[in-house]
């Protein structure tokens, strides 16, 4: 071999294989692949393989008593209904708050977001206290039985109300990023206000709207709390509650549960693929808008105060009522509906019980440990994956991105089920420990990690890294001294977000926890099943307060980062 070819070969090896991004990509693919594909693989196996043979027996059995058609029909009605509710309400609220001169806009903005602070299980229970057919507080006012939360329409409304803030946030972003010049030039061309809305505003917002509809539909399909708590008594079954029911049998029917889980995953994956298509298109729309513009404000005139009243009414119903209900219940020794007698016998006994209960203390500690652990693992690993995806041109990076994002289409209850199957078969002793919960949380919340990391990375100008390279800083030094410090605000915000969603995770925890390894949402769930409403409500109130503090810290950090970026 001549000297020249030798250097050529060495050049190629260093260049193609041993570059850090290739090694990192391999690590990223391994990490995301193991977390997402292995559980799904075991789920398929459990469902379709029996005694080493491929068979449809389990599936046939699962749908023998209860048809796939009805399950599909219920799930779609529930998902479509709550999505429609949330998108219509969220879009209208966003338009009013961003684009009109309605009074107290800032306060309304925060008010609409309040349900985000309440974990789904608490929000649902709050509405049971409000609208249960016999004991519900609203029914005491409106007359018994006028509202029935234990029904498909009850499910749709409660899930819809809880999804509204998400639709609202997406549409606020869409309306804000709309360059007023686009509308003003239509006005200048002689188009009236309604024509401008119909021909300019709406078409420009349509990609964002489509993306929002799809992501909400996926979330509604994955929802567990509402169907399990509200649909169970009413016998309105959807996929998630049916999985839960199958696992509650003795012995747990893993195969049956898998047969219910697979069509659900197919459905959510279709939604996710469509969502990616639409959000890609909405991004191409964003390029034509300029940043940092104040949107054009529509003057409401004499409708200003009526609209404000409507908005305030919405905030009261969606946020204040369920929370106040929890507060009230938490002050009652025995909850028997709202009454003057109840108000004269307020007690903090439930709170005292909580602090004295070793089980609750342990659950709080477990939740904290898992939240911090999941947030740290997710953000550290996803920062590296996002770097490979955003900053390198390595072929295969799209796959790593897709794998990290895939769990958004896997309902928590399915992740729980799949991991349960994996660790009952694989001789790694994590079942019965917190580790199995940690794995579930990391898998579930990877998508949030990859999203926040890639967004904040996209905002760091490439020049800043390139100038470090040219200055003689190697890959690691550039990462450590230039990239990481600039990334910290986004990293912390993402970390807090993952911590928040981990603290409220119920569906996979419920399947994977074991005695002594409870987390707070599981405690709430169990207290509800045992009818201990006072302690449940007290614990809920404390969780909402903790969430509020964390959200405030996150908002403050985000504001500081934005201010720094503006300079």
């Amino acid at each position: 071999m001549s000297a020249r070819t030798e250097t050529a070969v060495r050049f190629r090896v260093r260049d193609r294989v041993l570059r850090p991004e290739i090694l990192l990509l391999a690590a990223a693919l391994a990490f995301t692949g193991v977390l997402t594909l292995v559980p799904l693989g075991y789920l398929l196996w459990q469902t379709f393989v029996e005694d080493g043979r491929l068979t449809l027996d389990v599936v046939r059995e699962a749908y023998g008593a209860f048809g796939l058609g009805e399950l599909l029909w219920n799930s779609l009605r529930f998902a479509a209904g709550s999505t429609a509710f949330a998108v219509v309400a969220g879009t209208a609220l966003a338009y009013v708050v961003v684009r009109t001169d309605v009074p107290l806009r800032r306060l309304m903005f925060v008010g609409v977001l309040v349900p985000l602070l309440v974990p789904g299980v608490l929000y649902t229970i709050g509405w049971i206290f409000l609208a249960a057919p016999r004991s519900g507080a609203l029914n005491q006012v409106l007359g018994r039985g006028s509202l029935d939360v234990f029904s498909l329409s009850g499910m749709v409304v409660v899930e819809g109300l809880h999804l509204v803030p998400i639709a609202f946030l997406f549409m606020v972003a869409a309306f804000r990023s709309l360059d007023p010049a686009l509308e003003e030039s239509a006005l200048a061309s002689g188009a009236g206000a309604w024509t401008v809305f119909r021909r300019i505003t709406l078409p420009l917002a349509r990609p964002a709207l489509s993306a929002t509809i799809l992501i909400l539909a996926v979330r509604a399909l994955e929802s567990f709390e509402v169907p399990a708590l509200l649909g169970f008594p009413a016998r309105v079954w959807v996929f998630t509650s049916k999985i839960w029911q199958a696992l509650g049998e003795y012995p747990p029917a893993f195969g049956t549960a898998g047969a219910y889980a697979l069509p659900l995953v197919v459905l959510t994956c279709v939604g996710l693929v469509l969502h990616r298509l639409f959000s890609g298109r909405s991004r191409s729309y964003e390029t034509i808008t300029s940043r940092g513009v104040t949107p054009r404000v529509v003057k409401l005139g004499r409708w200003r105060w009526p609209v404000a009243a409507l908005l305030a009414g919405y905030v009261v119903v969606s946020a204040l009522l369920p929370i106040l209900m929890l507060v009230y219940v938490s002050t009652q020794r025995v909850y028997t509906g709202v009454s003057t007698a109840g108000f004269s016998h307020l007690t903090l006994g439930a709170y005292r019980h909580l602090f004295d209960d070793p089980l609750v203390r342990r659950a709080a500690w477990n939740s904290l440990l898992l939240g911090v652990g999941a947030a740290t693992v997710v953000m550290c690993t996803m920062t590296v994956v996002a770097w490979v995806v955003v900053r390198t041109k390595t072929p295969g990076r799209g796959l790593a991105d897709g794998l990290a994002f895939l769990p958004i289409a896997i309902p928590g209850i399915v992740i729980g089920l799949a991991l349960l199957i994996v660790f009952l078969r694989v001789p790694i002793p994590v079942y019965g420990t917190l580790w199995i919960l940690l794995i579930a949380y990391v898998t579930r919340f990877m998508p949030y990690g990859i999203r926040t990391s890639s967004i904040s990375m996209g905002q760091i100008a490439r020049d800043l890294e390139e100038s470090a390279h040219v200055s003689g800083a190697g890959w690691w030094q550039t990462f450590r001294r230039v990239f990481m410090p600039l990334l910290v605000p986004g990293f912390v915000a993402g970390w807090i977000y993952v911590l928040l969603v981990s603290l409220r995770e119920l569906s996979s925890s419920l399947i994977l926890y074991s005695p002594g390894r409870e987390v707070l949402p599981v405690v709430i769930w169990n207290r509800y099943q045992d009818g201990e409403f006072g302690e449940l409500a007290a614990l809920g109130v404390l969780m909402v307060l903790a969430t509020l503090v964390l959200a405030a810290v996150s908002y403050w950090i985000g504001g500081r980062a934005a201010a720094a970026a503006r300079r």
Binding site: T7, L486, R567
Partner: protein, 363 residues
Amino acid sequence: MLDVRALVKTFPDGRRGRVVALDGVTLEVGEGELFSVLGPSGCGKTTMLRCVAGLERPDGGEIEVGGRLLFSSHGAVDVRAVDRGLGLVFQSYAIWPHMDVFRNAAFPLEVAPRRKRLPAREIRERVESVLSAVHLDHLADRRATDLSGGQQQRLALARALVMQPPLLLLDEPLSNLDARLRDELRDELKRIQHERNLTVVYVTHDQVEALTLSTTIAVMNEGRIEQVGPPRDVYLRPSSRFVADFVGAANLVEGTVRSREPGGTFDVETPFGSLSVPSTGEFRSGAKVLVVVRPEDVSLRNGAGGLRGRVLSTGFLGDAVDHVVSVGDVELRVRSSAAAAAQPGSDVGISIEPGSCTLVPAD
């Protein structure tokens, strides 16, 4: 000092094909030169600079700096950007917002490999000296984001200079500054270049910047070098229609060569009659050419005789006035002193100084 040979770079164009950004670029930059690469946006000049810096990997060709081969597609050499040790100033400055002024400038010295790293005291001295050279020494502990645009530009320059690189690469460094600041920094850049005897490659789309600053200009278009030479040559004797048009304002008057005259001039038939125009090019009789007539080489006269024209419009520039004058079917741009200016709509006499004009091929 810098040798770029037959550099080729293509980018995928989003579909199947590839866009050619550099189409066999060859350049030779001598020691101590201030070498400008001038061209419209998208001509490949920034890509060329990024290839030299090591931020872009060429598809083919060679790059050599001070006798050290940095890239070669034949010998399979590709020195990483990190190891090239060249100074680069970005158009956006790329000042790190999380470091103060001193840290920004000290960064290249602080990240040097341990065995080559200077002791802390020496780093401090070097950074202080380079900061004072760009007049930022009094702001050393200021946050980098608190600097004005001009100050950020100086800091970017200081950061590039602190390594004492053999070659300094500047990518449109003045394009984000307002006009006054641009003049000021241009002079300063020239001073620093002169004092330190730096070799500089300067990428710009601004012909005034290139003409005033450079010892040599390379005019680039569509990934190719059109002409290389001292500013005077490029301006006075453009070799192609593109260069004549892009560097300075020019009237391009169609004509046909009638004959070659002694002393390097050509007799050219034009709509204005026959002109005797000097050119270093080779043109046969009957060749279609363009006569490059700079607006300042046309003068306005009152009264009769010579060419007649009508002033269509004027533009007041302060120290001069631009006129658009129609002469027959041709519109000519004419620049005169404010005192000699004519009113729009007036009839004027026109005379062209053919000795200051030059010829380029018509296609």
